[in-house]
């Protein structure tokens, strides 16, 4: 197992501060360009601000982190367009304040959380996770957040709560990609309650020790490192506790290609391409994809006795 306990790595140690500052200058320059391109849509002020009081998390990796520039300029977020560079180009129009997250459904404590309350809900910690996209590329990303279980405990799910549904903001004015019908908006994702309660499952609010950039799912997103990236819903406005498995956006779009579980699995191919290998961004040769993205020791027991070809 590649995970190991470390108590002493600070976010600032991941990247030397001078490189940080250089990046910040680069990103500011990029922001100005993006603003010009979007005719006055200013980049969100929050992105790039250092998060205070972030402690080193229990989970880190012995693998090189993907550079900040790559993490923030190459990703999928169809709400801002289907190209990998579109989120970075178009996410300036997203307003992350004010922002609330509704807790609904089979819970004892339903309600609305203001984002600034959520940020103080539990101590923020840094976690370095692998991220494997269903398209066959991967990254290593130092997220900042807290376990989703912290929020779920406070919500107090009832005995009927078997699944958790995550809903992304639906506002074509802020999310220009939603003007296209490429997916059925809003974006919906879901987890089984025990998956949602798993200590690896993170609600992320930051990246590289800083406030999450809009294009990466600001102000708050899910990170489920043993599943393909699309399971980790971004810019969440609603978390619903339900009895039946939610119909996720990708299951609705292509039921034959995307299942509810979507665990990273090199032995179960996508109907149109192999999942045996992946290209780690920044590396030349492909590497083998690991079962459960390398988190088997932690999560395999969740799926004991299940046929993973059937429950893909």
């Amino acid at each position: 197992m590649l995970l190991r306990q470390t108590a002493d790595i600070l976010p600032s140690e991941i990247t030397p501060p001078e490189i940080y500052r250089e990046r910040r200058r680069f990103m500011q320059g990029l922001g100005v360009l993006a603003a010009g391109a979007a005719l006055g849509a200013a980049p969100d002020a929050g992105a790039g601000v250092k998060l205070a009081g972030v402690r080193a998390g229990a989970y880190t990796l012995d693998e090189d982190k993907t550079p900040y520039k790559d993490v923030t300029t190459y990703n999928n977020f169809y709400e801002f367009g289907t190209g990998k560079g579109d989120p970075a180009k178009n996410a300036g129009s997203l307003k992350t304040r004010p922002w609330t997250v509704a807790i609904e459904g089979e819970v004892g404590n339903p309600g609305m959380y203001d984002i600034d309350t959520l940020l103080k809900l539990a101590p923020l910690e840094e976690r370095v996770y692998r991220m494997r996209c269903v398209e066959g590329w991967s990254m290593v990303i130092p997220w900042v957040g807290f376990p989703l279980s912290e929020l779920i405990r406070r919500a107090a799910p009832t005995g009927n709560a078997k699944y958790v549904e995550f809903v992304t903001l639906n506002d074509p004015k802020q999310m220009p990609g939603q003007r296209s019908r490429v997916l059925d908006w809003p974006y919906v994702e879901g987890l089984r309650l025990d998956e949602a309660m798993h200590p690896l499952t993170l609600l992320a609010v930051g990246l590289y020790g800083e406030v999450l950039p809009n294009q990466n799912g600001a102000p708050i997103r899910l990170v489920v490192p043993w599943k393909y990236g699309f399971k980790s819903a971004k810019s969440i406005v609603k978390i619903r506790f339900v009895e039946k498995p939610p119909l996720t956006a990708w299951m609705h779009a292509a039921p034959r290609e995307y299942g509810f579980y979507s665990n990273v699995n090199p032995e179960v191919d996508h109907p149109r391409w192999s999942q045996a290998k992946e290209r780690r961004i920044g590396e030349f040769r492909k590497r083998d994809t690991l079962m459960f993205n390398g988190y088997g020791a932690q999560v395999a027991q969740l799926y004991r006795g299940m046929d993973l070809k059937k429950f893909f």
């Binding site: 993907t66 520039k69 790559d70 300029t73 190459y74 169809y78 289907t82 990998k84 560079g85 269903v134 398209e135 590329w137 296209s180 490429v182 997916l183 779009a253 292509a254 191919d269 149109r272 391409w273 192999s274 290209r279 961004i281 920044g282 030349f284 040769r285 492909k286």
Partner: protein, 220 residues
């Protein structure tokens, strides 16, 4: 030198090299993004499709304009299409698969879009090999039959693109639509339509058009 500059072939040759020059420039200035291999694969694939569509538009353009001499540039466009298809193929074999024959064989069988793209590339080879004047003379009528393969190749190219995208079909459908229009322009009734259009709008501009227009006029 002056004569060369006046030859349109010189300019077309230069323009056809621009997509490659762009890749070389971006590669040298760290401009290929986070996933350079994907960028190169995509770019060479797109320019292959563009090349195919440009090659296929020569004949309809000729009919529309009445300029028979346009045919002189078709071979160069076709060969550049083959050139970019070759770069696309080499990118896949080398940068994507690292000459691993077992992995490539698995891929060709496993992934239908690879199968289709590979077939299209293999079919392009005989067309490139028989593109010389000598081969045209040697094959005679069979040359044209052989080169009708390009219709199938273009269809396979569009299917290759359609099948590889995750969800957003917009771009492959644009290429598909242009291809269907270009193929439809070869149907007999469409050829007649193009001729009528030319007679109506540009009867006096080109001598050949005028001659044909007179011929068409007599038929009516």
């Amino acid at each position: 030198m002056g004569a060369a500059l006046r030859n349109p072939k010189f300019w077309i040759f230069g323009i056809c090299l621009l997509p490659l020059a762009r890749l070389v420039f971006l590669g040298g200035s760290d401009g290929l993004g986070a996933n350079p291999i994907e960028f190169i694969t995509r770019s060479t694939g797109i320019w292959t499709l563009v090349g195919l569509l440009l090659t296929l538009s020569v004949t309809p353009l000729r009919r529309l304009s009445g300029r028979a001499d346009l045919i002189r540039y078709r071979r160069m466009l076709g060969l550049f299409t083959f050139f970019y298809a070759g770069l696309h193929f080499v990118t896949y074999i080398w940068l994507d698969q690292f000459f691993d024959p077992a992995a490539i064989a698995r891929d060709i069988v496993k992934r239908p879009f690879i199968t289709v793209g590979f077939t299209a590339f293999v079919l392009l080879i005989p067309l490139a090999m028989t593109s010389t004047h000598a081969m045209m003379r040697r094959l005679g009528r069979r040359w044209q039959l052989l080169h009708r393969l390009v219709y199938l190749i273009a269809l396979l190219g569009v299917i290759h693109y359609l099948w590889l995208v995750k969800k957003d079909l917009t771009e492959p459908l644009i290429y598909g639509t242009v291809l269907i229009v270009l193929l439809a322009m070869r149907l007999p009734w469409c050829v007649t339509l193009l001729q009528t259009a030319r007679n109506r709008f540009a009867p006096a501009r080109f001598p050949i058009g005028k001659a044909l227009a007179r011929g068409a006029g007599r038929r009516n």
